[in-house]
Symmetry: C2
Amino acid sequence: MSKKSSDSKIIYVGRKPPMDYVLAIVTAFSGAEIKEATVKARGRSITTAVDAVEITRRKFVKEMIVDTVVIGTEEMPPREGESNSRNISTIEITLKRS
Amino acid sequence: MSKKSSDSKIIYVGRKPPMDYVLAIVTAFSGAEIKEATVKARGRSITTAVDAVEITRRKFVKEMIVDTVVIGTEEMPPREGESNSRNISTIEITLKRS
């Protein structure tokens, strides 16, 4: 995902409530030049990412469509006091204007 | 999703640990006639579904690929004592042999 030009935007979803990310997605699509946005999340935040996209699509940006959804795995460094690296699931949801 | 013939299988992911669903997916793909399986989850179980698919794909069924991932929203009846129906996010991950 090297595409970071002005017509694309990446929104990283973490542990805040879904509405925080809804606002981020709505803001991304409020710029007329934005044709695409990608919502990324890891681990437990995956559900929040799906919630945020669904709330935005249904209630706020009706012309937005889900283009692709890609799931994957990322290797994370070990937690303090642990020796093994951890694998964590990821999701990337690419959104476009319909 | 009306396809329920013998060459397809649906796995519903709930609140058990991911390995329970890994076992279900591995079992589904152990039948030679199975060409496709769909993993479905709602709400907080979405992360478990992604985890189960990723663990299966990386460690157990290397020839398995993610064909499509579809996210959506389902309307659920109100909880007891509440008057409004709730919207819950859903995911459907369709898996195939590569």
